[in-house]
């Protein structure tokens, strides 16, 4: 297993390096930030001073090397807009995002895995039909709409939960449910499909004719075999939630990374864009590295 881990870590580092080039270039493709940052009455000299101060007047490759050297020493630049270290802004936003993503994933697993198993074992029953309906709705309904409906229903019509903001436990309910609804639908369908396949496999048939108790066949053998693709999916889904719950964060005015990035892009606040994309990317890759390592633990054929 040692070489496997080293190889995966090496791949992750190379991906990160490529990513820095990509982020750097993409951020600059949005145009010159000077007019957006400087007040309209600023003189040309002010503008030139701004460009020089942030190194924007230098050739791109030079800017990139400076950028790379700086991030290696932990300096992600200062936000053009807030005049604060970009990383501090991102770190402040990543907390709420991680909490939201983590809780939603947990909820999705708690709902989706048992539903998927039960549906796979009761193929063709009314229960399976209901699960199919739930999963279909969850996948088909866009998160922003679900979010808005929940706000209408549970914070306006019946004022139970706050409609927006961050702080107390109650604030978590609506955004969590919104995200978990979608994620649990996918987890349900994936568990269902993979459990069905696992239950049809030869080794399950063999365990049956050997009189192994059903509980062991389902929960030990079939579930572990079915869990491999589910784990992969969860890793990807978690990554998506990390950087991409933009819409949900906006609907619920959640002070997370999604919101921060959208704002930073609109303002051409390069350092913030770069820092947040880099941080979410590192988190995403770490999660997927963990998934791969978990995969190697779950499946002895991987590391062989």
């Amino acid at each position: 297993m040692g070489p496997f881990i080293l190889k995966r870590i090496g791949q992750t580092l190379i991906t990160l390096l490529l990513l820095t080039i990509l982020i750097f270039t993409l951020a600059r493709l949005t145009g010159d930030p000077t007019p957006l940052v400087m007040p309209s009455e600023a003189t040309d000299a002010d503008r030139t001073f701004f460009r020089e101060q942030y190194g924007l007047d230098r050739p791109l490759h030079e800017q990139y090397l400076v950028f790379l050297r700086n991030i290696l020493s932990g300096d992600f630049g200062v936000s053009f807009r807030y005049r604060e270290p970009a990383m501090n802004l991102v770190l402040a936003a990543i907390g709420p995002t991680l909490q939201l993503a983590g809780l939603s994933m947990l909820l999705a697993i708690i709902i989706g895995v048992p539903l998927g198993i039960a549906a796979a074992l009761r193929q063709g029953s009314w229960f399976a039909a209901i699960v199919r309906g739930y999963a279909g709705l969850g996948q088909a309904m866009p998160s922003f709409w679900v979010g808005l409906m929940l706000i209408m229903l549970l914070s306006i019509t019946l004022p139970i939960f706050p409609s927006s903001g961050y702080g107390g436990v109650a604030n978590f309910v609506l955004p969590c449910v919104t995200l978990a609804f979608f994620a649990s639908a996918s987890v349900t369908l994936l568990t269902w499909a993979n459990m069905t396949e696992a239950m049809r496999s030869d080794f399950v048939q063999m365990e049956r004719v050997l009189g192994i108790p059903n509980r062991l066949i389902v929960l030990k053998h079939a579930l572990r075999n079915a869990s491999l693709p589910i784990v992969t999916y969860l890793g990807l889904q978690f990554g998506l939630l990390l950087g991409g719950a933009v819409v949900t964060e906006r609907v619920f005015a959640w002070p997370g990374v999604g919101q921060l990035v959208v704002e930073a892009i609109l303002n051409r606040d390069f350092p913030v864009v770069q820092a947040s994309v880099l941080l979410t990317a590192v988190l995403f890759m770490t999660v997927n590295l963990c998934v791969d390592l978990l995969y190697a633990v779950l499946d002895p054929r991987v590391s062989a």
Binding site: D202, F203, M206, V209, I212, N225, D299, P300, R301
Partner: protein
């Protein structure tokens, strides 16, 4: 092994397994009768789709829920088809056991051999079918697996097909079942390994008196191993008799065609003779004998009337209008 006097361990009476719509059912097994004596090895031959595997799964009751099963399966006097799933589970593995077709996929790839053998042993002990003296290593030794200590720590993908079939056989016979069903146990294996596995089955029978049903389309395996043979075609039994008799004097044209399809070696030339045509669609069987369309000697009657049983001698019977005339 002729133990005519003892009561049969297994009696299958008028067994029918149907799939598909009620009005146009596909009968994978149609009105099949057979008996098996304790310690007897019965070979079941036939092409793919002849209903061999369905028959096995009907006996041990692992057919999909969509299957409609009729008739009787008596094991040691008990009507298996009337048992609850729970009672049936109590018999599976301990009294009636089975080895599946594909050893490559019949072990869980994510657990070690030891884990899986132990799981079976624990279950047998819990049922009082085994004791602490029987160990996983002992079981693997009994099926002549080399380096059993090492195998227990290995995963299925680290073992060859032959080794895996030995492991599966060890698991299936952990508690000395009285009936072992082997569904194409050698088909997925190299020719050189096939013989060893067949010998292993014979050894199990000789040691424990286990009755064995071996299903295969490999007639040479049946010839070497079984005491008696049943030939199936399109879900029906077409010929039954002592292995030596059926091989030397087959009476059903299908049996003859099957035997002819074995490679014939004469000097340097090997000739293969295939049976022309295909196994008919079970949902659209023609009137009369199901084999009539492929039969080289079929007469008009074969296409209008189902052939009845023709007794041809001691325990030798065939379902063919021409069984007593053709040779």
């Amino acid at each position: 092994m002729h133990r005519e006097t003892s009561p049969p361990i297994l009696t299958v009476k008028d067994l029918t397994v149907a799939f598909g719509p009620m009005e146009r059912p596909a009968r994978a097994v149609a009105g099949l009768n057979l008996t098996l004596q304790p310690g007897e090895i019965l070979g079941i031959a036939g092409e793919s789709g002849s209903g061999k595997s369905t028959l096995c799964n009907a006996i041990i009751r692992t057919l999909p829920r969509s299957a409609r099963v009729g008739g009787e399966v008596r094991y040691d006097g008990r009507q298996l088809l009337a048992l609850s799933e729970r009672e049936m589970r109590g018999l599976r593995g301990s009294e009636i056991s089975m080895v599946l077709q594909n050893p490559m996929t019949s072990l869980d790839p994510l657990f070690t051999i030891g884990n899986q053998v132990d799981e079976v042993l624990r279950e047998r002990r819990r049922q009082g079918q085994s004791n602490d003296q029987v160990t996983a290593i002992g079981l693997l030794r009994r099926v002549h697996l080399t380096a059993p200590e090492l195998r227990l720590r290995q995963y299925p993908h680290q073992l060859s097909g032959g080794m895996r079939q030995r492991v599966l056989t060890a698991m299936a016979t952990a508690a000395t079942p009285r009936l072992l069903i082997a569904d194409e146990p050698t088909t997925a294996l190299d020719a050189s390994i096939q013989d060893e596995i067949l010998l292993l089955f014979r050894e199990i029978r000789d040691r424990a008196g286990t009755a064995i049903i071996i299903v295969t389309h490999d007639l040479s395996a049946i010839r070497r191993l079984s005491d008696r043979i049943i030939v199936m075609y399109a879900g029906r039994l077409v010929e039954e008799g002592p292995t030596a008799t059926v091989f030397s004097a087959p009476r059903h044209p299908y049996t003859r065609a099957l035997l002819d399809s074995l490679p014939q070696v004469e000097g340097d030339t090997v000739t293969l003779k295939a049976i022309p045509g295909q196994v008919p669609n079970l949902a659209e069987l023609p009137h009369g004998c199901a084999f009539a369309d492929r039969c080289p000697v079929a007469i008009a009657r074969c296409r209008t009337e189902d052939p009845t049983e023709m007794q041809l001698g001691l325990r030798h019977r065939a379902f063919c209008w021409l069984a007593d005339t053709a040779s």
